[in-house]
Symmetry: C2
Subunit: 431 residues, 2 copies
């Protein structure tokens, strides 16, 4: 990892800049595939699966007993772990329900919001060598808690045309019964527009590679909502002299192992920690299965040593990290000053991987600086809020003139008249 000691503002800006991702070519591909899938439906999905995933599938939607049979093969130990994680995730997301608060903004004028489920949601779970079944919990459980009526899960099939047992089991735990063995661009298009077998949904969630991301961008612009823009995963660790170098190295590596484009940043005000962490990185890296990927990521990463806590906070807010670990003696002092981050990990015994799996928070988080404007996935993401207003005759008599004056000033006669006809009727009733 590169080191910068007392970097200038310019140097900090440079090292916090994310790589720019160009996706115009991919969008062309998405538009072409969309045309084909709209025309040929399921057959097109089967064809693309043969071409891109190199496997011939006959049916797209798994039967419930098929899911059950595959899920059954998960080890009892992993089943138990998934259940424990599910319990914590459910507990936290259930706490995010909002109560209806009826507000009398003025006498006779009642306004309120109600949180209602998004009815049909699509969850995308990437395949690959290590299918991320934890994401099934992170998306499926909040969808259930929100009360989504139709939950579709798309995930690419493996070489046997099957899905991972852990994904099947996590889906069962999350109450998901509709699993479609299709991945990539074709899965996103299928969920956005619907085919014979795949229902169209109102919102699509989930991580994915650059193809999936491009497809979500295309459908998100005018067809169906998406959870958030995606980018490579990232962690920033803030460490003071109380931090344990071995813990920091482990946290940095657990982000770095995601992929060679992962972003990993250490910020400290305690210079001796740099050597100690570097040493631990070398030691721990050698033992990892994904050491090549992790090493690539570290080569693009940086350790920043600055003068004080204030400077560390400033850098954290400038970066707006997806994951922010505050490995300091008094993490609250720093946390209270953080204005932008996806998820924050407080103190020495809160590794990022706790949030990835089992603390209860969601691991689907804004990357690439989007934490400035986006929340991570939470119960809100599976719901929308409808506003209501109920005005009594007396209420309208008191607010009516305000509305008439404003509508007239905007030259919207009919808006004004909608009040006037009512006020006239009320005053004629009074006579």
């Amino acid at each position: 990892m590169r080191r910068l000691i007392n970097p200038t503002t310019q140097e900090i800006s440079e090292c916090l800049t994310r790589p720019v991702l160009e996706s115009n070519d991919l969008k062309e591909l998405v538009v072409q595939m969309r045309k084909d899938i709209l025309f040929r439906g399921d057959i097109a999905l089967i064809d693309y699966t043969a071409r891109f995933d190199r496997v011939n599938i006959r049916t797209l939607v798994m039967e419930e007993d098929e899911i059950e049979a595959i899920a059954e093969t998960v080890s009892p130990e992993l089943k138990q772990a998934i259940q424990t994680a599910a319990k914590n995730i459910s507990r936290f997301h259930e706490s995010q329900r909002i109560d209806v608060k009826k507000i009398e903004t003025a006498p006779g004028i009642l306004c309120w919001q109600e949180q209602k489920a998004i009815e049909k949601v699509g969850l995308y779970i990437p395949g690959g060598t290590a299918p991320l079944f934890s994401t099934v919990l992170m998306l499926g459980l909040p969808a259930q808690i929100a009360g989504c009526k139709e939950i579709v899960l798309c995930t690419p099939p493996n070489q046997e045309g099957e899905i991972s047992p852990a994904i099947a089991y996590a889906a069962q735990i999350a109450g998901i019964t509709k699993i479609v063995t299709v991945g990539g661009i074709q899965a996103i298009i299928a969920m956005a527009y619907g085919t014979e077998s795949v229902p169209s949904v109102d919102k699509i969630f989930g991580p994915g590679n650059q193809y999936v991301t491009a497809a979500k961008q295309v459908v998100g612009a005018d067809q169906c909502a998406i959870d958030m823009p995606a980018g490579p995963s990232e962690v920033m660790v803030i460490a003071d002299k109380s931090a344990y170098p071995a813990f920091i190295a482990a946290d940095l590596l657990s982000q770095a192992e995601h992929g060679s484009d992962s972003q990993v940043i250490l910020v400290t005000d305690h210079p001796p920690i740099l050597d100690a962490v570097a040493e631990e990185l070398d030691r721990q890296l050698a033992l990892l299965g994904r050491k090549v990927l992790a090493n690539d990521a570290l080569e693009n990463s940086v350790m920043l040593c600055v003068s004080d806590q204030h400077k560390m906070i400033e850098i954290a807010n400038q970066y707006a990290a997806e994951h922010l670990i505050i490995a300091t003696e008094k993490p609250n002092d720093i946390a209270s000053e953080i204005r932008h981050a996806g998820s924050v990990f407080m103190g020495h015994y809160t590794p990022e991987s706790a949030g990835d799996y089992a603390s209860g928070t969601n691991h689907t988080l804004p990357t690439n600086g989007w934490a400035r404007s986006y929340s991570g996935v939470n119960l809100d993401a599976f719901t929308k809020k409808i506003t209501y207003q109920e005005i009594s005759a007396v209420g309208l008599q008191s607010i009516g003139n305000t509305i008439e004056v404003m509508a007239a000033a905007e030259s919207l006669d009919a808006h004004k008249n909608a009040v006037t006809v009512r006020l006239n009727q009320l005053s004629s009733n009074e006579i």
Copy 2:
């Protein structure tokens, strides 16, 4: 207005289908203009304003005393109305703050969310013959309440290079000090990327024509968040035999006068109301300043007469209206069954224009069926939620194994190791 009596499912679907808006050509234009504005900055903004708005402006950002002087010319009556509306809007949006709830998902594991302001926001206010100063309140007040630090308002200049006094006054009331006299595509690009005079923002809000919409789509995909996809405004009125035909006609017209592409739908289970409303429409339409636009909109609109309340509810949920007026004797019976709508207006004395201006709810709402997945603008829209977790040593000892098992099953060694190094340290301390 066309009438359908006891329509078939097929007929209902057809008449609820929104027109498809093609914007690919406009996106090309946006991409071209973006290139130019990134290169030439302010000068490009001034050039585009000369070309599209046909006015030469010398400075882009208004001085505070300039805003004040223009605002001063607003009539006392309108000032009073704006203040009253602002009070109600503020009261309702202030009630949307969420309290921090710390949840112990398991012993020693604390999770919570905090709502934090989006730091820099851009508000777009369309110009035209009747500048919509009410939208300044609807976007500016929640931004202030959320605590947004930088609020930029862009609005096109009139032929004198100035902005409407009512916009200036509403901006003052909402505490907005940065007004940029630029509109259209160029305004959206300026706020998304920044120029010498216009700061870049994290999220852009506000209505606009097809050009503004296309620009928001382009920047929303990968540069900055946007409030929601836009489409023509729409209202659905549900009326039973208790409804007043004059009120219904006024409400339908107040939507129709927005533009010839506005969508206006009446659903009733009381056949005699159709003639009565049609008569009122004719009578009221003749008196409107914008009668040509309103008449065009009505020609594309429809009255549906169905058998019962259940059917009315079904149609309302199928349509997912931006504005839903429930003009029935017991509006709660219907409201409780509504699953998708932007804003709901309950009973006979709650015209849509009340929500447009002064009841307190927001008038920036999802159109075009987006109410299925999007909320209208509310305090959430100007904030994001950061999640936090704090795990004690004891908490990690209890949850650690769950994380290790799950990480191992996803082949993420470093994720597992981030727990293992901590558990090892804890157990060695205990010896």
